[in-house]
């Protein structure tokens, strides 16, 4: 991975030196243990802090909507991230010509909580090499296969290779098997209604309405979210089953045709709430009904955000 990081660094240097971009969004070294952070590089002398490894757990496309549309933004993207960028371009959140995507085929994001659960809370010195990762715990180095500590969304990933980047660093990796996520959705569907509701209720019960899921999601960029609207108030802001369940369900529906299954929402949640089972289901529905996957290019309109006269449902007219 450090080879990729070196390549990434020199590419970012070139872009900044030539003023090809105003800002480059990538990751920098951790302050909190094992937590590399999103970073916004503007000068080449800042690049000593550059970081790139499996612990880089945020979807960087999230930051695109913060900049005026004439800002020239460079961004490093993995598979799902590149799709989020494309989806944002389709929704006119930033013009493609003002974006420079450096694509890196993804080996999957490491779920740091899986490492904590497996080894212990006080781990340090993460490193990775090929398909293994290692940490130091109580002075001892412990290695394990990367696959065993990948985030759940990455285990179901279909498109790890960046789509339409301006430049690709590293060799493409095999695409994922779409039947994995389909099976995971189908096995949830196969449960009876009461069981499904019980699982949903149990997950929603822990929610503390911090909206980390919303803020970590690149597609949640509304200047006023429906939960913040006061006249009328659509949902309760209190911690109650009704309010919280409404929050989870409605946000999932707002993601239909837009979500790229990156899992940033689950990784952001401080209470370890499962969320992707809802959006995965909606994504499968979009695939089956409209043969549509978000972000596979930067021009095709999502079915629910566009209208054609030969659309299946003309009730909108």
């Amino acid at each position: 991975m450090s080879e990729i990081k070196a390549k990434l660094r020199s590419e970012i240097e070139r872009l900044l030196k030539d003023r090809f971009v105003d800002v480059f969004i990538a990751f920098k070294k951790a302050d909190a243990p094992l937590r590399p952070q999103p970073a916004f590089f503007r000068n080449t002398n800042e690049l000593d802090d550059l970081e790139y490894n499996g612990l880089c757990q945020n979807n960087l496309a999230n930051y695109l909507t913060r900049y005026p549309k004439d800002t020239k933004i460079g961004i490093v993207v993995r598979g799902c991230e590149s799709r989020s960028v494309n989806a944002l371009v389709v929704e006119k959140q930033h013009p493609r010509e003002n974006l420079y995507m450096i694509g890196i085929p993804c080996q999957g994001i490491v779920d740091i909580r899986k490492i904590f659960n497996r080894v212990g809370e006080e781990v340090a010195n993460y490193s990775e090499f090929q398909d293994e990762v290692s940490v130091v715990f109580k002075g001892e180095q412990i290695k394990f296969p990367r696959k065993e500590v990948l985030h759940d969304s990455c285990l179901r990933c279909v498109h790890p290779n960046p789509i339409n980047p301006d430049i690709l660093l590293g060799d493409p990796v095999p695409e994922g098997d779409p039947s994995i996520v389909r099976q995971s959705v189908e096995s949830f569907q196969a449960l009876d209604k009461e069981k499904r509701y019980a699982l949903f209720r149990q997950e929603a019960e822990r929610c503390i309405r911090c909206y980390a899921c919303r803020e970590a999601c690149p597609m949640c960029y509304c200047t006023e979210c429906f939960v913040d609207h006061a006249t009328p108030r659509w949902t309760e802001t209190s911690i109650s089953p009704a309010g919280t369940q409404a929050w989870h369900l409605i946000r999932a529906f707002h993601m239909a045709g837009r979500c790229t299954s990156c899992g940033a929402c689950e990784r952001a949640c401080p209470m370890d709430i499962k969320l992707t089972y809802l959006t995965d289901k909606l994504n499968e529905d979009m695939l089956a009904t409209y043969q549509f996957e978000a972000g596979m290019d930067d021009t095709t309109q999502p079915p629910f955000a566009s209208f054609n006269l030969d659309d299946k449902n003309r009730f909108v007219v």
Binding site: A32, Q37, F40, E121, Y211, A212, A216, T237, D272
Partner: protein, 341 residues
């Protein structure tokens, strides 16, 4: 005076208590470490090296709390009396217990004391547990606290070998343990040595002597924009924080209740005014408010830093922002930009 409770006798002690009190202690609930009522089958998680995810301030200031009920037709009030059970909170860490005393200065005042907070406070006995293995994200000693501080506790437990050594700090705390064997002088020294050793093993994360002045000097600079660039503007840091207390009051019309909910200065709408004006329009101002509330304004108001170093904001920030690094950056920024320039 230090009592000795053998670990294997803890279950019996809890059983004895449960006839008079509800006992609340850390347990894994759906895989997440939280404070939860203790039942006969409960498996306590007292000796974890990490604190609970959700802070125990929720036991005194619930995230959603019904303050008043009203009859919408007659517009009459039906007051809500808070009559919580007599309860014991067991296994609270020094950072969280100290945080409760900081919140006392907000809610218990000469005029307008908060009756809901008061009722819960006065019916609770707090038995704390010292931290044998402070985590690398803990920084209690940096902010004037420590892994075996007892402020806010009726009794403090220190776990060593197969026993808990218990120091009572109030009559209520003493009454809970007074039947137990008493530690010898030698044992007491051993406990104190252990506590001191652990406390001294913690490193200081940032200097606090000039911190307030530094932050005040930085108020009008672009420091805040720089350090908050990756901030998502969610509520994780403030909701998991044991000293944050800001709340919103809303009328929930479907249940005819006036409810108090935790709120956060990190949300844009927090300070949004009806006229459209927002005194804190960007993340920079909101981050400034959060840091200065804890490290400048609360020191002005109560003479103490409003942070107890529990580390939750460091561990659970979705983008890995570390408040310790932000405060170190403040001192660096001040010397580089203000003094040098």
């Amino acid at each position: 005076m230090i009592y000795i409770l053998e670990k294997k006798k803890l279950d019996q002690t809890l059983q004895d208590w449960s006839s008079k009190y509800e006992v609340i202690a850390p347990q894994f609930v759906d895989g997440v470490l939280q404070f939860h009522p203790v039942h006969p089958n409960s498996e306590l998680a007292l000796n974890e090296s990490i604190n609970t995810r959700y802070p125990p301030k929720s036991l005194f200031l619930p995230q959603s709390e019904v303050m008043l009920r009203y009859n919408p037709k007659s517009n009459q009030l039906e007051d809500v009396k808070v009559l919580p059970e007599e309860r014991i909170i067991l296994g609270i860490r020094p950072c969280d217990a100290y945080a409760v005393t900081l919140l006392d200065t907000v809610f218990i005042t000469e005029e307008n004391s908060d009756p809901y907070w008061l009722a819960r406070r006065s019916s609770t006995i707090i038995v704390g547990l010292g931290c044998n293995n402070p985590h690398s994200t803990c920084f209690c000693t940096t902010v004037g606290n420590g892994p075996f501080n007892h402020e806010g506790m009726d009794a403090l437990m220190t776990e060593m070998d197969d026993v808990y050594f218990i120091e009572p700090f109030s009559d209520k705390g003493d009454a809970l343990f007074s039947g137990l064997p008493i530690a010898s002088e030698e044992e007491q020294l051993k406990v104190k040595r252990h506590q001191t050793q652990v406390t001294e093993s913690m490193t200081i994360a940032f200097e606090t002597e000039n911190l307030k002045q530094t932050l005040d000097n930085l108020f009008d600079t672009d420091f805040w924009g720089k350090i908050s660039e990756s901030c998502l503007g969610c509520g994780v840091c403030t909701f998991l924080c044991p000293t944050c207390f800001c709340f919103d009051i809303v009328d929930e019309v479907q249940r005819n209740e006036r409810v108090r909910n935790w709120d956060t200065c990190m949300f844009r709408i927090y300070s949004q005014e009806a006229s459209g004006h927002n005194p804190r329009p960007t993340r920079a101002e909101r981050t400034r408010q959060r840091l200065m509330h804890k490290y400048s304004y609360l020191p002005d108001q109560i003479g103490k830093i409003g942070c107890t170093g529990c580390g939750r904001c460091v561990r659970y920030c979705p983008v890995g922002l570390d408040i310790r690094a932000m405060l170190r950056a403040a001192s660096d920024f001040e010397s580089e930009v203000i003094h040098a320039g």
